[in-house]
């Protein structure tokens, strides 16, 4: 299959987990992919793993200069058809212990970083491009310890609505992809201990109708749908890929 033949895609948070699985899938479908991440070693590993038709760019989306540099690099190859905005920051904190620094780091990456990831891309986007914002099933829930993370992801869901209105002339579609718990390194990193992570896995499995975590490849499939013409009449929506967590 080659649903993205000759397309150029940018994947932020592309060096691990959901982003890496998506970048791989996009390349398999014929796209040239630029992956952006914060850690050079991880980027190099991901580029080697994907193999061909991929360029890695070190970029922290919370830094506007990094975004400028990212798009200048992409522009040398051509105009962009797909943006998969997957970079995110997560740290579990109860409201009483949230510091302004934690609040800012969460919002600066998840909401502000994603906002400018798209704004800075505007001059480089082809008409008919597809923008995919990765949110979270948790944004529709009231999960203790998730106040800042969920709220920052809820902001993304709102961006998709507004940008659907603002970018309609260029036929650019913006949609949200909302994963439930996914079996990735980031899932475990948000817990202080292995034991905590194992317990969280058990708890989420119990809450989820499909009774398991998602595989990164399952998120990539949904991303491919939203990125390609398969979803040509889908705009401004929120697609949950959460094993039924928010549906029941």
């Amino acid at each position: 299959m080659s649903l993205l033949k000759n397309k150029i895609a940018v994947v932020t948070g592309g060096s691990s987990g959901i982003g890496l699985a998506t970048a791989k899938r996009f390349v398999e479908e014929g796209a040239y992919v630029f992956i952006a991440g914060r850690r050079q070693a991880e980027i190099d590993k991901a580029v080697a793993e994907i193999g061909t038709n991929v360029t890695g760019v070190k970029a922290d989306i919370s830094k506007l200069d990094d975004l400028n540099r990212l798009y200048e690099t992409v522009a040398q190859k051509g105009k962009i058809d797909v943006i998969f905005a997957g970079a995110a920051f997560v740290e579990k904190q109860m409201t009483t212990t949230v510091t302004p620094e934690h609040f800012d780091e969460t919002f600066n990456t998840n909401a502000r970083g994603t906002y400018f990831t798209v704004q800075k891309a505007l001059p480089y986007l082809n008409d008919g491009a597809s923008i995919i914002l990765v949110a979270s099933a948790g944004k529709n829930k009231g999960l203790p310890g998730r106040s800042t993370y969920s709220a920052s992801k809820a902001a993304l869901r709102s961006f998709a609505r507004t940008w659907t209105s603002e970018l309609k002339e260029q036929k650019i579609r913006t949609n949200v992809l909302s994963p439930g718990a996914v079996d990735t390194p980031m899932f475990d990193e948000q817990f202080p201990s292995r034991k905590g992570a194992a317990e969280a896995r058990k708890q989420i499995t119990a809450m989820t109708p499909l009774a398991r975590l998602a595989r990164p490849e399952e998120i990539a499939s949904a991303a491919l749908f939203l990125a390609s013409d398969q979803s040509s009449y889908v705009a401004g929506v929120d697609l949950p890929v959460d094993g039924g967590l928010t549906a029941v």
Binding site: T95, A111, Y115, G142, S147, S152, F159
Partner: protein
């Protein structure tokens, strides 16, 4: 009527519009009320209108030190409170391409970060069985061109209502949001300084609302007070008061 006798209430953004209308309704019901505001005109007119019965405080809802100082003052005046109404907020309509970092930060600081830390700092003063009411906006579920940052910040706030509701459950404090559509308040004149522009916007917005009119500040006040004192089996919810705009 002494409907709100012995109730102690703090209203953030209570010197004009919806906040002021709520303060008046509470004062009519014999509550003790503290309102905050920032603009000099707002503080002076509120002092004149309700200053005999209510405490009018100058406080910047975006400033963390301001919020700390407010918490100390509330503690000194009231010791504990029954309702925290977090109502301050406004929009700077700007299309995606022209949003600067400064506009982005202003929208999120005022509409998301400020409210978060206001709840964090004042929640310890809320009595068991008390309530928090947050003012969101229909913009949080609509894609209104020019409202990407405001709508997203309000969507973040809507998400906070869910998480904070979960976290404050053990203390039997309910957290809900009232969601205004277009309301006839002085803020419209602040957002659009040009008088002709205001008239045009007013006509356009009225046309979009199923009820074909603006709501009144009193209609918001009634809903906020319903959520605060009567909706005893409702938490984490959002009550649209928008002439049907977000629902029909």
């Amino acid at each position: 009527m002494k409907r709100y006798e012995h109730k102690k209430v703090v209203i953030i953004g209570g010197t004009s519009g919806m906040g002021l209308a709520t303060a008046k309704m509470l004062l009519d019901g014999c509550a003790r009320v503290l309102v905050t505001g920032l603009s000099k005109e707002g503080l002076e007119s509120a002092q004149k209108e309700i200053g005999q019965h209510a405490i009018v405080v100058s406080s910047d809802a975006r400033s963390l030190t301001g919020i700390d100082a407010l918490a100390s003052q509330v503690k000194a005046e009231f010791d504990t409170i029954d309702l925290l109404f977090v109502n301050a907020g406004f929009s700077i309509p700007t299309p995606l391409g022209s949003v600067t970092e400064a506009i982005y930060d202003e929208m999120f600081n005022l509409n998301a970060k400020g409210p978060f830390f206001t709840v964090q700092k004042l929640a310890p003063l809320i009595n068991r069985g008390g309530a928090v009411v947050l003012t969101t906006s229909v913009a949080n579920v609509k894609g209104l061109a020019g409202q990407a940052t405001y709508g997203a910040a309000k969507a973040a706030l809507r998400s906070l209502a869910r998480t904070l509701a979960a976290e404050l459950l053990p203390r039997e404090i309910r957290v809900n949001a009232v969601t205004p559509g277009p309301i006839d308040t002085p803020i419209l004149g602040k957002v659009f300084p040009d008088k002709d522009a205001v008239a045009q916007i007013r006509e356009k917005m009225s046309g979009m609302v199923p009820m074909k009119r603006f709501g009144t500040s009193e209609e918001i006040a009634k809903a906020a007070l319903f959520l605060a004192f009567d909706a005893t089996f409702t938490t984490g919810a959002e009550l649209p008061v928008d002439g049907g705009w977000s629902q029909l």
